[in-house]
Symmetry: D2
Subunit: 365 residues, 4 copies
């Protein structure tokens, strides 16, 4: 593989361009010949579940390991909703735009609401539910049966604890569950601006998933259902959706590793790891620190950042010349074309971003 | 991990109880930090596609990598059928029994036919199609729109080339595509009794999949569609079904390895690997040789083998005492209870079965 | 319309070849210009519901009027089942064979069981549920979530009260609802051999429908859910299934008429109509009396009746010559071809069969 | 039924509050005892098809009779779309709002676009398709596979021939079929402002339906597919959707009547009825004339008409006092609450509106 060496190019296009954190590969290697039960009934998955329950302060939680984000959203949402219900989401939500109609394939409408930088606010959720209930024809309409939000959002923004608490309150007063898509949750948790912990998610939501694919795993998303048996027969529903891994431990073992304390580290975490930060926290921190350094440089150099994103995604609006220059030196991600002719590019850091790469990018910028 | 050492126990319960063939893990390790495009658009997947096309003598084939068997069946079958159609399968077929209704979840009926040791025969397929066509009420019925078979079957039996050719002929005369589930295809291909090659499958079927999960991969199934664009927009259909891997190369790289020639081996294969057998062939051979030795011992020792299975699954009917004795020494798989009170147990070998394990099992038997 | 006069031909092919009982047309005519609320919220439908509740001795029952049989089956079954469940039915059940996959279109498998003359027996239902529960892999299988039977069956046979009670007991011990398709229920209720009343159905089943289309209405089926709110939001589920009539009273008014006492009749009924039989009972009686006379004649004349059917459908096995002769004189319905070369024909009577037609048919036979 | 006499009240709430045009009831009465083939294979339906083909100048058209609007939309749309496709519709479209998720129940997303008074414009359709095609991620998105519009719209507005031609051009350049919901088509066709004929619809659209339920029939919608076999196996798809009427002639006969020339009338029509207007045209004309008289009165009396609707629906914005006054004297339909506290009420005329009722309403206004 000299493909690596040829890579003089800088890669900041996405957070799922590399394999897995080395600690995960190491565990896969060490346990490769262990005989394990299939379908997530193995001891690695059991251990991972215990660690996640602890990290979430949710001792009764059901934890299931699925493979990818769209699959997880479709399976969880389709399992919670009844046929006469739909799911409320931001117009910009992943399920609204980039999941090829997976929710509708399960028979449910996505009830979209306007958003601010990817975020729903509690008042608009409350208004939507109220409008439905007061509509004289609501028996002819799709009933809101679930609220879907992402932490961080598609735009890399974060719900504050106050905002999340408010949405949770609105949902539960209306008798509607709340589900959080945490595809990039590590980058939220590690963000200095963030005040929402895993325990807060477990306390305020009815279902959420802890992203693995974009946060250092080869693949895998951990669905957390804080109340036991919140979704009856979820195992069979996962199977029916084609989402059940035969070698379930391939996902379970990765989460067991992600939620293990880092060897030889001590410090600030409070997530039940006895003092050491968890690998999942460390992975987030790496990306957030890299993003912080780039953000500072962008501000210094006078770049226009159209969205204010505290996590691992940075957006810059550039003119054609700048775009061409940047694309010569680094792989960034096209986001959108602005009305004024400029282009918004996304710079994305990850667990795999090295400080050396950041330095080289800063030199380019 | 001393879990390995503790394993004095013998494991013959299944062919997906261990991780991946070491060569696969090695490749994952070597390429871990390579920046790759997502969703199977990477160079590893492209290379794997080229190797599979070559091994199948199907230069125009579309090849897609999915994660697991139920997912693959549901995605392929749901993508080929039109809403007014169903899929013909054996009553014992995996889609008929053990996929939790995944085909019906996509809106389609499984039209079941009786089987002989897991196999459909061409005449009963032809009769089923004829009965549908001649039924005066067939516009009120589900139209057969696809035939599903497995090679090897649920019972470990094999279609001969003559049988497969005959089913293919019946299907194509009726204008109905033929799809083959190859979850354990390596064990069919390596079987001395087998006369159906990958090229035969590509020539006689409209779609089939080459199993990875049960044949030495961590996960992954390679869907082969011999005619380009046989399923329009299949990429989007995969995404819609939640079956699209973000890090697609995790599956692609494994198949690239499985379909690479073994270094330092020369020999009998004709699958375009320039003389050396492919890893996929070697994996099958290991399991088949182990199964062969066990089969011979079973015959010698007078065990009752109710099904005649030439592949990596062996079935023995034992009384209660024998069952208890065997279960003390080895992990086998419960298959079914017979009317005469005896139990059928399955002995399953795999790529991970060592000759040492076989010797120990023979001593137990 | 001299199409009527041209009809020298005898019609015994089916029980839905004519319009509606004249009393129904009369009511439609009389009420045509009454302004009514839509969607079944009108006073005619309300009155029909009250009459049906009375006839079923089910004062708490929810009653909904749908349009046709397949629609009713798909809507009721799809509304009761959870996504991980399927419906148990006879292999010969209408939902298993002649509804074009409507149940599967809603995402559910039909779990078929062998039948005797169209009937399931309680033991085989119990065995099916037991086999599912005891199967070590049942989490990978479709859970039986409903039992579907027809009264009368596709073959015109009847469940006795003892048989129905036994099936009901098995279902309720297993926690599985029981649903009865009563497309031809009038002909069961009017049959001298029948001992299952509407009140029995309401007591023993969780859902059933009283057929209108085949029993004298232009269209319409009355779904009876004996326990209020057994299917939450059923109105919206009906709408979602495209099964909600805008002019709901067109169905409601017909059932109001069918469940009204016949003017000027006194007699044997006990269905809350104050002595007079209901029109629905009278309609059944007409067809059953006609069928009885034909049955007697068939026996006398030595016809071979392969199934023993006490209701409005009679089956005769005839050789080719007899078949041609009969088809010259009367329109009968092809049922099936026997292995011995003979053909089974169906003779079907209805509310619209006149004694004059019966006399003419007897002359032909 | 003295319910009629008690009706001193004025009814202008909706156009489906009464039964059927008397000519339809008359035909049902006359043909009640005619023996007919089921499922729309009867001679009345055949005659209706011929008349509709003639009225549409579409000699090759397939014509199917379904029962209601939501059912028709779900069946047609679900039959045209492939699983990876969705349907473009106005945010205000019936399928977007008031069909309880029937389109999503079939597995498809409704891709909503902003509207002007219920109408889509060709440019926004073109932009939507272009945005999809140019989006680098469109393989992860739902492909626009059909355009849905209504004539008249939910707001009673009309597409002009120029507008419809433009939308049709955009659709066909993009290879996307165009489908028109004509639930109230009679009221469009009869409108003096209208310049879109049935022949135009047949020429410019790939599918449309001619509404019966809201235009004088007891029930029934006629789906017109101008190109033969545009939807293969549509009969079975109708059955699968629970939308196939057993007594199909109940719908067919009504359309045969609606598309028959009025006896004893001569005049302006060009729809192949040899000089006499068709009943369907007459029905529209009655409602439009009534609406015209009311519209003039509303303008004269200074009512505020927030939408400019040329068809049989009129909208007035009134304050609370006026609302209460009007509701004492007439049944109107609540439309929406305005931000300024006023209420929008709908006044709806129909085939059943008498000039006497209009006079009485004018007196009230």
């Amino acid at each position: 593989m000299d493909q690596n060496k040829a890579n003089d190019r800088l890669y900041f296009a996405s957070d799922y361009m590399e394999g897995a954190h080395p600690a995960i590969l190491q565990r896969l290697l060490e346990t490769n010949m262990v005989h394990s039960a299939g379908y997530g009934l193995d001891t690695f998955s059991e251990s991972a579940r215990a660690r996640i329950r602890r990290a979430c302060s949710a001792p009764e939680a059901d934890v299931h390991f699925l493979v990818g984000g769209t699959q997880t959203n479709a399976t969880v949402i389709g399992s919670i909703l009844r046929p006469y219900q739909g799911v409320i989401a931001a117009e910009s939500g992943h399920i609204s735009t980039h999941e090829a109609g997976a929710i509708e394939a399960g028979g449910h409408k996505v009830l979209t609401l306007p958003h601010t930088m990817g975020k729903l606010d509690a008042a608009s959720v409350a208004d939507c539910v109220k409008a439905y209930r007061e509509d004289a024809n609501h028996d002819h309409m799709v009933m809101p049966g679930l609220v879907y939000i992402s932490q961080p959002t598609e735009f890399g923004t974060l719900y504050s604890l106050r905002e999340l608490t408010e949405i949770s309150r609105v949902c539960h007063e209306a008798g509607i569950p709340l589900y959080v898509d945490g595809a990039r949750l590590a980058y939220a948790l590690a963000c200095p601006d963030n005040d929402v912990t895993l325990a807060d998610l477990a306390r305020l939501c009815d279902a959420f998933y802890i992203g693995g694919t974009k946060c250092g795993a080869l693949l895998g998303e951990a669905v957390v259902l804080p109340r036991h048996d919140f979704i009856p027969h979820f195992f069979t529903l996962i199977k029916r959706g084609g989402a059940l891994l035969a070698k379930g431990w391939v996902a379970g073992l990765q989460f067991d590793t992600l939620f293990s304390p880092l060897p030889g580290k001590n410090g600030e975490n409070e997530n039940g790891s006895g003092g050491s930060p968890l690998l999942y926290e460390e992975i987030g921190r790496t990306a957030i620190e890299a993003a912080g350094r780039i953000r500072n440089a962008l501000f210094e150099k006078g770049y226009d950042l159209p969205f204010d994103c505290p996590t691992n995604q940075l957006f810059i609006a550039v003119d054609r010349d700048r775009k061409e220059y940047l694309e010569q030196h680094a792989e960034l991600s096209f986001w959108e074309k602005l009305a004024d002719g400029r282009t918004v590019l996304r710079i994305c850091t990850s667990w795999a971003t090295s400080m050396e790469d950041v330095d080289r990018l800063l030199a380019v910028l």
